[in-house]
């Protein structure tokens, strides 16, 4: 039965094809096709989970795709608990985003195409998590990158949007370069593309540790790109130019989780190559802190959420680098729900207020109760307040970080938790409470239609309860389902729980004091810490740095190549060929008129002159003719006689 799991990604693919070729003109039908496909896949993903719960073995189904001499490539699907969880997360968030988009994208001239792209993305992401070998995962990795580009630049008439799409694709592609190198190193060392075979080889010690470490680091480069880790994090904030459902689906819950999924899937490699794992953990840690700090001062609601995503992904990557397979994937699972909820809620606010700037909002609570309440629930979850989902998953992360011999990860983790609570509630207080800052916009604001608020409510439910499967006191909780090597029971660390809750509450209180009660003035703080504020507001000047050291030189090189090579050499050659051809035709023309025509005319004139000459024989005098006859007769006789 599980061997038919390939149907799960197939349905959205069929939806994509159907919409593009058949139902493009019919908006309602297209959205129904798309929603129908992903919802059916969701049901099938539930079947997969139940199946894996009942029978916790890893299943693999393959077929030979390429059979050449010396190379045999098999493609297939791998189903274990990680796959089951990922399928569930992707299908759930994707279905809810699909339904939400019906409300958000009404009136858009390319409505059907949006749904076709959503379906294509769902197909790509589902294929990615089902893949059983590096080649398969790479194909879907790139497909996911493509659909991300298409969706970010959906409103491509806006230059910022098309630029953002390009930036996303190019930045992730840069990471993919490392990914490819990593794949090549590992698969050449192990002799196969297949995950399980590679992991057996790694565990049996067939692969030299140096090569393994190098390969693992390069593989991680792909995750750095796709999951927007430092230093390739620059594309994710810009990707907010895309429609908000896109931000919710791709850049919060699923595509960016692909990098985390990759590290989790190849955990065997990282456990064996400790130095590579340390690199992973460090980058995750840096990213978590960096992004949270930038998010403290941003004024665009989606940008704050984007940096929050980068920071949370940093958490996941960090804990995976420290060996916390269960913790990292658990946080991926809970984060998908509350982050998607945050983005969809933000979309609801943007839809109502027609602005992204939080300083043009304010006092929206009474006007948009459902949006506000669900947004606050998600904020509580991400801040890690007991007993919502985020509390359990964040706690797992901190517990694993605490086990590491160097306390730096735990300290940074706790700091980031505080920062997260602060900036999320800064967002809540400024957007939903206090006096409205733009009266005109405020007057036009209204709650979103049911098709948008119902997904919010479902996600709020999940943000509260979905994490309860990971409560440490459960006998058969998350840690008995998704594990590496052995199921284990999470031990609850009460001290850590209390500390993290205190830190979160501190963050929330600070936000309350600064932005609701106004007992601490944000403006005064801005003045006092003018330089740090400037650095944070400008995102540590990363974009400017990259612009200076990479983009500008490349552009200059392109201009030079264009001027000197393209125009100078290539065009010169092309024009030269043209000139040469003209020269050749002139010569031919000369030849044609002088020689060819000359010959023809010459023959004619020779004939004419010969005729003029020969006609003199016709004297008209019979005696001459008679003479010729007689003469000829004499010749014949002479010839006959001799």
């Amino acid at each position: 039965m599980l061997s038919n799991a390939w149907i799960i990604p197939l349905l959205p693919l069929l939806a994509f094809v159907t919409i593009i070729f058949f139902t493009r003109r019919h908006e309602r039908l297209s959205s129904l096709v798309s929603i129908g496909a992903i919802c059916f896949s969701w049901v099938l993903s539930l079947v997969v989970i139940i199946s894996v719960l009942k029978n916790p073995v890893t299943s693999e189904f393959e077929f030979t795709w390429l059979n050449l001499i010396g190379l045999q490539v098999r493609m297939g699907i791998l189903i274990d608990s990680l796959t089951a969880i990922m399928l569930f997360v992707v299908c759930t968030v994707s279905s809810l985003v699909h339904i939400y988009s019906v409300g958000y994208m009404t009136g858009d001239p390319r409505f059907s195409r949006f749904f076709s792209f959503l379906s294509l993305f769902s197909f790509s992401m589902l294929g990615l998590v089902l893949a059983n070998n590096f080649l398969g995962i790479f194909v879907f990795w790139e497909l996911v990158g493509l659909t991300s580009y298409l969706l970010i630049g959906f409103w491509f008439e806006k230059k910022t949007a098309s630029d953002a799409g390009k930036k996303a694709f190019i930045t992730t592609r840069t990471g993919d370069l490392g990914f490819i190198i990593g794949i090549l190193i590992i698969t050449t060392a192990a002799g196969t593309f297949n995950f399980r075979e590679i992991f057996h080889a790694v565990e049996a010690g067939h692969i030299p540790i140096g090569l393994l470490t190098l390969g693992a680091i390069f593989l991680f480069a792909g995750a750095v790109g796709k999951s927007a880790q430092f230093p390739l994090h620059v594309w994710l904030p810009d990707a907010m130019e895309g429609p908000t459902p896109v931000s919710a689906l791709i850049h919060a819950a699923t595509m960016v989780a692909a990098g985390v999924y990759l590290v989790a899937r190849t955990m065997t490699i990282y456990l064996a190559a400790e130095n590579a794992a340390l690199v992973v953990a460090s980058i995750g840690c840096i990213t978590a802190f960096l992004a949270a700090s930038i998010g403290l001062v941003q004024n665009d609601i989606k940008r704050v959420l984007a940096y929050s995503t980068i920071s949370q992904l940093g958490y996941m990557i960090m804990v995976l680098g420290l060996g916390g397979y269960t913790a990292g994937t658990f946080h991926l699972y809970t984060h998908a729900f509350f982050k998607a909820l945050l983005f969809l809620g933000a979309g609801s606010v943007i839809h109502a207020m027609h602005t992204n700037d939080i300083w043009e909002m304010g006092g929206l609570y009474p006007k948009m109760k459902v949006t506000a309440v669900t947004f606050i629930i998600a904020s509580l979850s991400i801040a890690g307040i007991f007993p919502l989902s985020g509390f359990w998953s964040k706690d797992e992360i901190l517990t694993v970080a605490g086990h590491f011999h160097n306390p730096i990860f735990l300290i940074v983790g706790i700091l980031v938790a505080g920062m997260t609570a602060f900036y999320m509630f800064r967002l809540c207080f400024v957007t939903f409470f206090g006096p409205p800052r733009d009266q005109h916009k405020f007057d036009h604001a209204h709650e979103s239609p049911k098709v948008m608020t119902v997904p919010l409510m479902i996600l709020a439910f999940l943000s509260i309860f979905a994490g309860w499967v990971g409560i440490p006191w459960l006998k058969h909780g998350y840690s008995s389902f998704v594990y590496h090597h052995e199921p284990h029971h999470a031990e609850p660390n009460f001290i850590l729980m209390i500390v993290s809750t205190l830190v979160a509450l501190t963050g929330i209180y600070l936000a309350y004091a600064m932005y609701y009660k106004k007992s601490i003035s944000p403006e005064k703080l801005k003045e006092k810490f003018a330089f740090p504020y400037k650095v944070l507001y400008n995102k540590y000047y990363f974009d400017e740095l990259y612009h200076a050291i990479i983009i500008n030189p490349v552009m200059k090189l392109s201009d030079f190549l264009f001027g000197k090579v393209d125009v100078g050499v290539v065009d010169w050659l092309v024009n030269g060929t043209g000139r040469f051809t003209v020269l050749l035709s002139d010569a031919k023309q000369w030849f044609d008129s002088r020689i060819v025509d000359g010959t023809v005319n010459g023959i004619a004139s020779v004939t004419g002159r010969a005729g003029s000459g020969l006609r003199r024989i016709q004297t008209g005098q019979l005696q001459n003719y008679a003479f010729v006859v007689f003469f000829g007769l004499v010749i014949i006789i002479l010839l006959k006689l001799s």
């Binding site: 006609r615 016709q618 004297t619 008209g620 005098q621 019979l622 005696q623 008679a626 003479f627």
Partner: protein, 102 residues
Amino acid sequence: MIGLNHYLTLSTFLFCIGIFGVLTRRNAIGILMSIELMFNAVNINFVAFSKFVTPTALVGQIFAIFVITIAAAEATVGLAIVLLIYRNFKGINVDNINIMKW
């Protein structure tokens, strides 16, 4: 004695003189006369052969009579043509008859 060869030589000479006359005389009647000379040369040839080769069968002589008859008829026609030429060209100098000249 006078043998066949002598007669044949005579006839050849006469024939050649006749041809010469046909080819070079300007007067049309002169050309006709030369043609008559050629006929007579031929007659001598026939009779000579008849006499010396088949003395009993008088084939050659009979043929010579035919030739004379034909010559007479032909002379008639020729003179008629000369008459017409005289009417059209005001003279019988064949050098002037070159309408078919290029």
